[in-house]
């Protein structure tokens, strides 16, 4: 399967799961909101340029926004993590490219610890910005802090579960296209 087709299918699955499964879970608590759709952006191949990463992030966020009737909210958060992603990857991956042969970020390609740090940083960034934008319009500062921590915790748990339940079969990066 080509990268393009694979990512289109992933995109649809992530958006549909977020809208029809996670958003329909009866809330356990006002602070706990399960969000995982942005994992799509974290899983995009290393080779995508930053410009396209941001465009894809914007479109991903906006498609979710149209379901939740908040145009711009998730889009802004997604553009932020798409912009920050290459920085984080540069810090966490070995500079020596011979060790670094996989196509996309995963526990297998980066190692569990760097991968978890990578997802944690971006999840935190995403949630802090998302909750901040919501909080600008309503709520108290303590609510904001607790909500950021709670949503990040839940998102991290979901990401780890996803990685364990659906291990991706990754191909090595080769010189031949396709």
């Amino acid at each position: 399967m080509s990268d393009l087709l694979k990512n289109i299918i992933r995109f649809l699955i992530f958006i549909l799961v977020q809208v029809f499964v996670l958003d329909n879970i009866p809330p356990l608590h006002q602070f706990i909101v399960p969000i995982i759709y942005f994992l799509f952006i974290l899983w995009l191949p290393f080779s995508i340029s930053r410009f396209w990463l941001m465009i894809i992030g914007f479109l991903t966020g906006l498609s979710l926004d149209y379901f939740t009737m908040t145009p711009g909210l998730h889009a802004a958060a997604c553009v932020l993590i798409a912009y920050a992603r290459p920085f984080v990857i540069n810090i966490l991956t070995p500079k020596d490219t011979s060790e670094f042969n996989y196509r996309e970020p995963s526990p297998k390609s980066m190692g569990w610890t760097p991968y978890l740090v990578y997802t944690l940083i971006l999840t935190f960034l995403h949630n802090i910005y998302l909750v901040f934008l919501e909080w600008l319009q309503f709520g108290s500062f303590l609510d904001f802090l607790i909500k950021v921590i709670a949503t990040t915790g839940i998102s991290m748990m979901l990401i780890i579960l996803t990685e364990i339940l659906f291990p991706r079969r990754l191909r090595y990066r080769t010189n031949t296209p396709g």
Binding site: L16, F20, D23, N24, I25, P26, P27, Q30, V33, R50, F51, M54, I55, G57, F58, G61, L62, D65, Y66, F67, T68, M69, T70, P71, G72, L73, A75, A76, V79, L80, Y83, L133, E134, Q137, F138, G139
Partner: protein, 292 residues
């Protein structure tokens, strides 16, 4: 000139980032003014389509309860029928004015339309519902939405040709005129984004005793909602120290977790009422400087 191009090239990613952020935030903060833009209408059609497909499947899980609710509603309506009542005074007869059919439209204030909830959320600060009826079926902004048992659900805020979006009572910007059934005092029902089962009733003065279980109805002063439809029942009463008014926690009557069939109610006099209200304000504002 060359320097500008060099600058753009050097900071291309940063500029793209700022541009996209700007667009996203513009969408977000201009949403209320912006939501009639056509592409949101198209997006509404697309999400509406996907939602209605999902909803068809979802229906099978709620049919039993929905049937019972509709049955109870029918029961309460059947009890209102004329033939259930006898005239106690034998000397008096009830006559039905045959002209009523011709003139009824003139006096009609509320028009009810049925609709189906195809998407619903309760876990955000701003929750919206999506209905499978839109501008094509006569739905307009500011129409009231009531559950199949007549309890209040929300207000229509955006309409595309086949679907409409409803601001649920569970929305931090939602504000509904409400009154207590017992004392007829009125206040407003809001939501504090804490628990989707409870709303807040504010602005009731401390004149009379309010107990748990008292009914909260829509007020007769509301432009959107037909009067005397149940919003919920009083759950607990506290006193707001800042204002000295009651702060009442209201348990919603509609179960927002499984809304299925709803009614969209149009107040046929709404535009006239709103116009009169606006003109009054304008008139008074114009007069003011003279009085000073």
């Amino acid at each position: 000139m060359r320097n500008i191009f060099l600058f753009i090239r050097r900071y291309f990613n940063l500029l793209t980032f700022l541009l996209l952020q700007f667009v996203a935030l513009y969408f977000l903060f201009n949403y209320n003014r912006f939501h009639r833009a056509s592409f949101l209408g198209i997006a509404n059609e697309i999400t509406g389509n996907i939602n209605s497909r999902y909803d068809k499947l979802d229906d099978y899980f709620h049919q039993g309860e929905e049937n019972r609710r509709v049955h109870r509603m029918n029961d309460s309506l059947l009890n209102l029928l004329e033939q259930n009542y006898l005239v106690p005074d034998t000397g008096m007869q009830v006559r039905v004015d045959t002209l009523r059919g011709d003139t009824i439209e003139q006096y009609r204030r509320y028009l009810w339309r049925e609709a189906k909830v195809i998407n619903n959320a309760v876990n955000r600060q701003r929750n919206y519902l999506q209905l499978n009826r839109g501008a094509k079926h006569g739905i307009r902004d500011n129409m009231a939405v009531l559950n199949s048992d007549g309890s209040v659900v929300g207000v229509v805020v955006n309409v595309s040709s086949n679907f409409s979006q409803v601001m649920s009572l569970l929305h931090v910007q939602s504000k509904v005129n409400a009154s207590l059934k017992k004392t007829k005092e009125f206040g407003s029902v809001e939501w504090d984004a804490v628990d989707p089962r409870y709303l807040l009733l504010k602005g009731i003065p401390k004149n009379e005793e309010i107990v748990k279980g008292d009914t909260v109805l829509t007020s007769v002063y509301s432009y959107n909602f037909p009067p005397d439809h149940i919003i919920g029942t009083v759950n607990s009463v506290t006193i707001d120290k800042a204002t000295g008014l009651y702060l009442i926690k209201v348990a919603t009557n509609a179960n927002f977790y499984n809304l299925q069939q709803v009614f969209v109610v149009e107040n046929l006099h709404r535009s006239e009422q709103v116009l009169l209200d606006e003109e009054t304000r304008k008139k008074i504002d114009e007069v003011k400087p003279v009085n000073r």
